[in-house]
């Protein structure tokens, strides 16, 4: 079992049974079940995982709500995400109440169309900001994950396949980033770039945190992929491809990459969760999303200052963030179990 390539379970050629040569090939089998590919098998296993499906549903709802932020803002709450309302009043259960009390205390959740989750200290609608903030957090997570997947895979392939000089140059680079705590590295680079921006990108652009977070986590994918490629390149089918005269790039893309695909796929939800969390950390420390943009991280961070008087300001965005990351993690676990059934080996003691 140990010698079997991890991705081998998923490499089409290794699992699909050889084509039967006529009806006599399997004399014992009266009815033949149609051959089913490894990806369908994984999908079938995933669909049987009810917990993962439930959280996938929740995740779709959460993402959908965040994407509909402008609709909510325009048609239901009738207030923009950055519209302040310090002196305004609203009717709650027939009573007229200040949005922000004379002592500066914002109103709590009303659970009606206006100020559904209450207001912040400047009278902005928390529910609207929550959805817009979610859009920002999810966008940064998605962008950063894309960077990680593209460059992590590329670096893993290059260092693992070519070894030698390429490895000697690129691997220490990955180790250097990897040996820094992500939060500290992210805060240092984030603060620096938030001031001046890079090139044409402005300092308060969302691309800056996305880029920083992506680059920080590239080695977290690049290193395992490198290990995987180092092993895969010694497989017989790679030798066969080489003997056939395939070039290194073609071997990497058509022979090695498909076998490393399951590892990469398992990393996607993990990275999505971890990048959304890092964005929150950076924003908490003032080095992530910059005003006027809001993200779940900045909302929580602003809310923590009012944790004793207006706890909803930190707890509601916090709950939303945790729920989203939790859903991604549960779905990710489901995907991992579906792709690698051996991770569910039963123990007998």
């Amino acid at each position: 079992m140990e010698d079997e390539p991890r991705g081998g379970l998923l490499s089409g050629a290794a699992v699909v049974p050889p084509p039967a040569e006529g009806p006599d090939a399997f004399p014992g089998a009266s009815t033949q079940t149609p051959a089913i590919g490894p990806w369908q098998l994984a999908l079938r296993r995933f669909r049987r995982n009810r917990l993962a499906l439930a959280f996938l549903g929740l995740l779709v709802i959460l993402v959908g709500l965040c994407l509909l932020a402008p609709v909510y803002s325009h048609d239901i709450a009738h207030i923009g995400p950055n519209t302040t309302n310090v002196v305004g009043t609203i009717k709650v259960n027939g009573k007229v109440t200040n949005v922000v009390s004379v002592t500066g205390l914002p109103i709590g959740p009303t659970f009606s169309s206006h100020y559904f989750f209450g207001a912040d200290e400047e009278g902005r609608d928390l529910a609207v900001r929550l959805l817009y903030g979610g859009r920002t957090s999810l966008l940064i997570g998605a962008l950063a994950t894309t960077i990680i997947i593209v460059f992590g895979t590329l670096l893993g392939l290059l260092t693992g396949y070519f070894r030698g000089a390429v490895d000697a140059v690129l691997r220490p680079l990955m180790d250097l980033i990897w040996s820094f705590p992500p939060v500290i590295l992210g805060v240092a680079v984030g603060t620096a770039l938030a001031l001046g921006g890079i090139g044409p990108i402005k300092g308060n652009s969302l691309f800056i945190p996305a880029l920083i977070i992506g680059v920080i986590y590239v080695p977290y994918l690049g290193k395992p992929i490198r290990g995987e490629v180092l092993r895969l390149r010694e497989q017989d089918y790679v030798d066969a491809a080489r003997v056939q005269g395939m070039g290194p790039w073609r071997i990497m893309i058509s022979e090695i990459l498909p076998n490393a695909a399951s590892t990469i796929i398992v990393f996607i939800p993990m990275m999505l969760a971890i990048t959304i969390l890092l964005e929150a950390y950076l924003s908490f420390l003032g080095a992530g999303v910059q005003p006027p943009n809001a993200s779940w991280g900045t909302l929580i961070s602003d809310g923590i200052n009012y944790i004793d008087t207006a706890p909803h300001l930190a707890l509601i965005p916090g709950g939303m963030l945790v729920l989203t990351v939790l859903s991604i993690n549960v779905v990710g676990d489901g995907i991992r179990d579906a792709l690698d059934p051996r991770s569910q080996v039963r123990i007998k003691t």
């Binding site: 820094f180 705590p181 240092a188 680079v189 620096a192 929150a280 961070s301 991770s343 123990i347 003691t349």
Partner: protein, 315 residues
């Protein structure tokens, strides 16, 4: 062993050099970075800025600035630009608070994670396994600063069981010290317990089907001994590497979010302030400080590796 120490020392020097150059380079390429202006103050005239620039050597070439800063760091004379404080003294003063925060938290999370991960693996598929793993996945989904804030809200403001923030030195009053740090310890530990117990559980499950475990069982060892001396011992290897790295980075200042929420005057808080002010000397010292611990605990975890698994030679 001697060769191992020499090699690790050399790689430590190389890493610290790389880290310091990297930090210096990052600040050199930032267009908005102008330390002379920051020191001189907002309303300073151009001549004052130029004077400051000459005094601190910002008008010199980059490599001279780098070498001067390094010289100041290693002679312990480096000061930060913001408050004119000696950076090395600051780290020395604040390290006690960070140690108080990180060491007990680390012990707490390692013991809890090993216990919960083992229980989960031994009872795999049962209710307790599902419950623990549900908690673990929740634990890795909560940012530390949010957990810290929620605990602060619940236990300090609502139930008033614990003081809201602050730090008391262990030499002043050990009881007050622990009383002030219980919530911070817990905040740091939860994330790691979740992460480590998940990893340990899956390692344990992989290990159980290994040949040497079957052999141990076949030769009639009691189940307890098989688990502790064969299964658990071999499953601890990746945990030890993770622990070494996490512990090192927390000591180096990665506990900054917890220190920020609970207002604990540790090295992380100082680094966070320095980063906010783009104050290069403390950032540089902080990065090298962290790098030092990363190398140190990397070496220690390799030694423990060798002790747990004699097949691994130190080289």
């Amino acid at each position: 062993m001697a060769r191992f120490i020499v090699r690790r020392t050399l790689s430590a020097v190389a890493l610290l050099f790389a880290v310091s150059v990297l930090v210096f380079a990052i600040f050199e390429i930032i267009p908005a970075y102008n330390p002379a202006r920051a020191i001189a103050g907002r309303n300073a005239t151009a001549t004052t800025v130029a004077q400051v620039s000459r005094k601190f050597g910002f008008d010199k070439p980059v490599y001279t600035q780098y070498l001067n800063t390094m010289k100041l760091i290693f002679t312990g004379q480096v000061i930060d630009y913001q408050d004119d404080l000696n950076v090395v003294d600051q780290f020395r003063e604040r390290f006690g608070a960070t140690l108080s925060l990180v060491v007990p938290a680390a012990i707490l999370w390692l013991l809890t994670a090993v216990l919960l991960g083992s229980i989960s693996a031994l009872r795999v598929g049962r209710l307790i396994d599902r419950g623990l793993m549900a908690l673990a996945i929740l634990g890795v989904s909560v940012p530390v600063f949010l957990l810290a804030a929620v605990l602060l809200y619940l236990f300090a403001f609502k139930l008033t069981l614990f003081p809201n923030t602050g730090y008391v030195g262990i030499t002043v009053s050990p009881i007050q010290w622990a009383y002030h740090l219980i919530l911070p310890w817990f905040s740091i530990a939860v994330l790691s317990v979740g992460f480590y117990s998940r990893v340990l559980r899956s390692n344990l499950l992989d290990m159980v089907n290994q040949d040497f475990v079957r052999t141990a069982r076949a030769k009639g060892l009691p189940a307890r001994q098989v688990f502790l001396r064969h299964v658990l011992r071999n499953s601890m290897m990746p945990i030890i590497t993770m622990f070494g790295l996490d512990f090192a980075t927390l000591l180096g200042g990665a506990a900054l979010v917890t220190e920020a929420v609970y207002n604990i005057p540790g090295v992380g808080q100082y680094e966070a302030q320095a980063i906010g002010n783009l104050d290069v000397p403390p950032i540089l010292v902080g990065a090298m400080f962290t790098g030092f611990f990363v190398v140190l605990f990397g070496a220690i975890s390799d030694v423990i590796y060798g002790m747990l698994d004699p097949r691994i030679r130190l080289s």
